[in-house]
Amino acid sequence: MRLVPMRFRFWLISGLAMAGVAGCAHRPPPVQPWQREHLSKRAMQFDADPQEDRFRQHWYGAREGGDLGYGQPGGGCGCN
């Protein structure tokens, strides 16, 4: 019985989060092109290190049961 509310909660949280973030777009653009200096820095990018992420997901997937959430899952090995 535990997962029925969890499924609803999952989609509810997903929808609210996306709608909330997207809601910012209904105002004028918050950032003009000449204001984006800091946004291009490595610290502001979520996928700046794909090689490192690949290795991390590989070992997390082998040691934890909840593998997913950072792009297409690695899989493809007999290390589980």
């Binding site: 535990r2 999952f10 653009p29 800091h38 690949r54 049961g65 792009g71 297409q72 090995c77 007999g78």
Partner: protein, 375 residues
């Protein structure tokens, strides 16, 4: 530190815990063309030395496995969108995997937002050395298979000149053998057998904030994960019901114009799969549960009539913590040093982390090094 679009990168990763050691060299190259067609490729080798071929056990016989992986990707860019295709092949002596993926991204709202759709498919084939495995009880076959379908969508939004948010939602459907063909369940003296179907889901919001005055970047990630058996979700028959929470915080600090340090801390906690039963280690008169022999906390022991059974530690209650420090150095200073000056156009990085686990795997040291040369 800016990131060039064309690069070649070499990396080495080392992972060591009590009974397992992994050494992974890797090389990756990416080339972006003015025509808007980009290509990339990577190749890596995993050398896995373990105390047992069945990960998570404590049997004392050293075993070494080599895994090769190669991947290719092609991307076509337009003014506000892109489409990419990727292929990956992984090979071990007893496990082979093909996976394909496609991704479409579009920038919105005056380039302050990005929407990306991703889909993928993988085909895995495995065998067991020295025996014909039961892909399911009573159905031996030379090879077992695992097929997976993946789909995801992510939305990123610039919130201010110094902050950005992202939310991604992903699901993966797995159909086939999902265990380890070598892992025994000691109390039953049988090889493990897991439910053959699984729907895995995750929602991952992430937030980044930059402080220009101190040149400090902050990132906060959260991930909610849950899975279930398609068709049995929310019923007493659902053997999965594994859920987890992951929180990760990162701090990027520019120390000098060419040196950046990153501190990261990740916390992960999961509940056990419904069919996972701890080893029975004490007498009890508690009644059985839907999947286990005794209603201890967590439930323990398997009845001989159990449909699913495993001794995989990662399907039990797992808590891990991972603090890490990374140094990244743009090697401009080498420009005047004889013999090594051609390294000056690249960036070196090194990181060390300690992976704390509450399972029988034990804690692990993780060391990674890399060099990335833009061209």
């Amino acid at each position: 530190m800016a990131r060039a679009d064309d690069y070649v990168a070499v990396r080495g990763a080392y992972y060591r815990e009590a009974s397992t050691r992994v050494i992974q060299p890797m090389v990756e190259v990416q080339r972006e063309s003015p025509s808007g067609i980009d290509v990339g490729a990577h190749f890596l080798i995993d050398t896995i030395t373990s105390a047992s071929i069945a990960a998570g056990t404590t049997v004392d016989n050293v075993f070494t496995e080599i895994r090769d992986e190669v991947g290719f990707r092609v991307r076509k860019r337009w003014e506000r969108s892109d489409f990419s295709l990727a292929y990956k092949y992984s090979s071990e002596s007893d496990y082979w995997s093909h996976s394909i993926g496609a991704s479409y991204g579009v920038r919105l709202w005056a380039d302050t937002a990005a929407l990306r759709f991703t889909a993928g498919r993988s085909y895995d084939t495995m065998s067991a050395k020295g025996r014909t495995p039961d892909c399911r009880p009573g159905h031996p076959a030379e090879f077992c298979t695992l097929n997976a379908w993946f789909g995801g969508v992510s939305y990123s939004q610039v919130l201010s000149p110094v902050s950005i948010g992202q939310v991604s939602v992903e699901s993966a459907y797995l159909d086939g053998f999902q265990g380890n063909l070598y892992r025994m369940v000691p109390s039953l003296m049988k090889y493990e057998f897991l439910p053959e179907r699984r729907l895995r889901n995750a929602i991952t919001p992430r937030f980044a904030y930059y402080i220009p005055a101190t040149e400090t970047g902050l990132q906060l990630h959260y991930r909610l994960y849950f899975d279930f058996y398609p068709g049995d979700s929310g019923t007493r028959s659902d053997p999965w019901e594994l859920s987890s929470h992951t929180i990760e915080a990162r701090v990027y600090q520019q120390v000098t114009p060419t040196l950046q340090v990153r501190f990261a801390f990740r916390y992960y906690r999961q509940s056990h799969a419904a069919f996972w039963c701890a080893p029975p280690n004490r007498p009890t008169t508690l009644p059985p549960t839907d999947f286990c022999a005794m209603a201890t906390n967590p439930p323990s022991g398997y009845l001989n009539t159990a449909v699913y059974y495993t001794s995989d530690p990662k399907l039990g209650p797992v808590v891990t913590e991972y603090p890490e420090i990374q140094l990244m150095w743009a090697a401009d200073a080498l420009r005047t040093v004889p013999f090594v000056r051609w390294f000056a156009a690249g960036t070196f990085e090194i990181s060390y982390g300690h992976y704390f686990q509450n399972t029988s795997f034990g804690n692990a040291h993780v060391l990674q090094t890399g060099y990335r040369l833009a061209f």
